[in-house]
Symmetry: C2
Subunit: 497 residues, 2 copies
């Protein structure tokens, strides 16, 4: 088969992907999740032979053989496309050589060309292609002739993991990144610290995790762990958005830095912020800012004295605004764009919102009213309210996360464009590595399709159901412990899990 790219990939996020696969066969393709914007497939099936199959670079590709990112993706997707072939028969090392050989020799006629790729094209294109390959009863691999034109509807498609309320082992985070890439999520929002524990092992403030983590050795993320997560995510086209939520949700910070949780810890913030901006390379940083308990500040005589000095009187939202503005300014001085929870927007109503840029809407009720309000103020929005997956509900409630219409509010085209995406949140009160995967998958995939695909083509729960069931079986075969959607079974049920 052969992929002819007629258009260039747009800058990273609004990528346009084209993939044409020739030669096809008799079986119908079960489907791709999330649904591509345009997909036409023939009934003709074409056999794929893992012994001769090869990925190759296109003649006009800006990048050629030797690009580690693409080579690694080729290796990864070779295994995903031919699970039986790679399962027992190939060691990782041998496979590596084998694939390199393919790339060099690119035996006809089975070559896949990807031209002018960028991260997002690469990962999403290979992912789409891998979902098109299927096996017959004898285990032979086939792909149908398929034409696909695809691009994401929203640029920001995130999954939040909370590693403070329960510690998640690094391997659980990496596996989540794998599963995210299968559903074309592209932002891992790492809510790394919060009240219950401080697992981030800071270079500047090592005492924070030493005293604030559940355990200073086994329940921390070292600098090397963080680098590993960032690199693993990058290989899969996923950005890591760190959140160091303040000034609320900092209970665990005070354990290691006794002078930190004082009325105004602005003095300590710059160096901490600087560390965060250098450790996490992403251009965005999440500053939190939710659920600040003013009654706590009110009770503190030092806070009250500071407020009097600053001329704030008893206006605690003003104090919070002062704090947030300071930290936002520090962030932007470090060339980062800050994201805050909607609480900050709400409290800044009285003191100006000029410092803010991206607001994450998370509260329940009429969340689209808030989206409208924030975009009207000219600020960008990430929508999280309808996708709090940690809330109770049976697995089959995936439809609840599917039937969400992020732009269904009255507003101008400009306002709609300010909605940059959405995010699935998996808060950690009742979630740890024992139940994370069946809680997150495939329900998060329902949100993923909403954020990726054309809304008109994906408005029917009934039509989506068999495709999602099939996708869930693919996740299972790839080793992701995705929960069942209803009565039934998968052909390859527990080999990967």
């Amino acid at each position: 088969m052969r992929a002819v790219n007629t258009k260039q990939c747009a800058p990273i996020i609004y990528a346009l992907l084209q993939l044409i696969i020739f030669y096809a066969g008799l079986n119908a393709v079960k489907g791709v999740w999330p649904l591509p914007h345009a997909l036409t497939s023939s009934v003709e099936q074409y056999p794929l032979n893992p012994q001769t199959f090869a990925f190759d670079y296109g003649k006009h590709s800006a990048t050629q053989q030797g690009c580690s990112l693409l080579d690694a993706a080729f290796r990864r997707y070779f295994s995903l496309i031919f699970p039986d072939y790679t399962a027992g028969r190939w060691t990782e090392e041998f496979l590596k050589c084998q694939i390199s050989a393919f790339v060099v020799t690119h035996l006809p006629p089975i070559n896949l060309y990807l031209n002018r790729y960028m991260c997002v094209c690469l990962n999403t294109g290979l992912e789409t292609f891998s979902q098109l390959v299927y096996q017959d009863d004898l285990g032979s691999y086939f792909v149908n002739e398929t034409f696909i034109e695809d691009f994401p509807r929203f640029q920001f498609r995130g999954v939040l993991l909370d590693t403070s309320r329960h510690y998640l082992p690094v391997h659980a985070i990496l596996k989540t990144l794998d599963a995210m890439s299968y559903s074309k999520f592209n932002v891992f929002h790492w809510h790394i610290v919060d009240d219950p524990s401080f697992p981030y092992q800071s270079r500047s403030f090592p005492e924070l995790s030493k005293k604030g983590a559940f355990h200073p050795a086994t329940h921390v993320y070292t600098q090397s762990d963080v680098r590993r997560v960032i690199s693993y995510a990058r290989m899969r086209g996923i950005r890591v958005l760190p959140e160091f939520d303040s000034p609320g949700h900092t209970g665990s910070w005070g354990k290691g830095q006794s002078d930190l949780l004082t009325p105004c810890y602005k003095g300590g913030a710059p160096s901490g912020t600087f560390e965060v901006t250098s450790v996490f390379p992403d251009s965005y940083i999440h500053l939190g800012g939710d659920e600040v308990d003013f009654s706590c500040w009110r009770s503190n005589p030092h806070v009250r004295a500071f407020m009097q000095k600053m001329g704030f009187g008893g206006d605690f939202p003003k104090l919070e605004a002062f704090y947030i503005e300071n930290i936002v300014n520090i962030t932007s001085a470090n060339n980062k764009t800050s994201i805050v929870w909607q609480d900050v927007f709400d409290y800044h109503e009285r003191v100006g919102r000029s410092a803010l840029s991206v607001v994450e809407v998370w509260k329940h009720g009429c969340y689209l009213c808030k989206v409208r309000q924030v975009t009207k103020a000219g600020l960008r929005v990430i929508l999280a309210s309808p996708w709090y997956l940690d809330l109770p509900g049976p697995t089959h409630n995936w439809a609840r996360y599917y039937t969400v219409w992020p732009l269904a509010f009255p507003g101008s085209e400009k306002q709609k464009r300010l909605v940059i995406g959405g995010e699935v949140c998996m808060w950690g009160e009742y979630v740890d590595a024992t139940n994370l995967f069946p809680k997150l998958w495939p329900r998060a995939s329902a949100a993923a399709e909403r954020l990726w695909s054309d809304e008109k083509q994906t408005s029917s729960v009934e039509k989506a159901f068999p495709r999602l069931e099939d996708f869930r079986c693919k996740l299972l075969r790839r080793g992701i412990q995705a929960g069942p959607l209803n009565v039934g079974h998968c052909k390859h049920e527990y080999q990967g899990v």
Copy 2:
């Protein structure tokens, strides 16, 4: 330490267990789950050395060395009590020899004597003992001097698994049996077949699974699988109660036996029933009988003709009663006691309930009203209504399964005695091996304590919580993927999982 048994174990179920452990230490014991009826522990701690620790048979024990059941339990609990010691350092075979050697040499002073044991005493006694052992920060093992007198409040403490709506691999069933024994459950109610699939590979009717299973080779329980489950359960003091639910819930039966789902398939029933009674040795058998769809029978001219012949007129409950009485009689002719869902009791109101013996109450609403009614009719009751764990709810809702009072209905002492126990039900619509364990544990353990322990001592959710949290950590360390109850962590979190 030394266990002196002053009373004889009562027949199997109403066992009275006594265990006295001498020598003790400084740390307090965190607790035993389910709570023993009497437990007194000293603050003195006594070290346990895995190199010299030995189980031994008491002088007056009816059974002596060489009893395979007890020897196996000793081996199992040696590993559970000394997880670090056995983790990497001992192969199974070497361990076996090592333990045999301990039994032979029984080095003083660390011997545990269990006299006049029976299955239930053995398993529950060893389980209790294993929960009393703890480690200090250096990994050394300790036990405090403890006096325990214990016995189960109810004789029937069941867990239902549904292997029809989703197939559960045998290893998932075996692991469930392990976890059940840790919570002192003693009945595995195997809802083995139902409408969606027929995974039981029958000797008499092989076509049933060939055509009725999700897959005739990978999604079936062979005769050898069934024997393995029964034997594994028996080793852990657990009975296997099979359920072949009829006349409703038989959709999958018709796929393999085209003449089976006819108006009256009484002719086919005896041989099938005979097979079931011979394959499953337990003296109880669950006949189902729930949710019969009379409109289906009504639509069938053959059914109507049969009813006319029998003089039933249009009385479908009478037809159902006729069917159930027949199958109950066949069951009792095979020396088995039958259990039926409450629907059968409800429909037999008009035709006499003499054939019935045990009724399982499962419907919601005022379930204690039904318990009262059934016991008033002189029939035994198993209570399931409050323990449908597959229904949606956050993990921390364990309290909902804990605050259940099975005897809180107005009735005579005789009536109360007819409540023989309860059962946790895990129906399979949205449950398979990907999410079974965190859904079942530790929430089922809450029900287990209700069924085992003294109600007065275990009425407080607040008091129970830290003990259950500790027990959940024990489950995790033993490799049971038990879900979290709230924010926090376990010291040994993911080694076993």
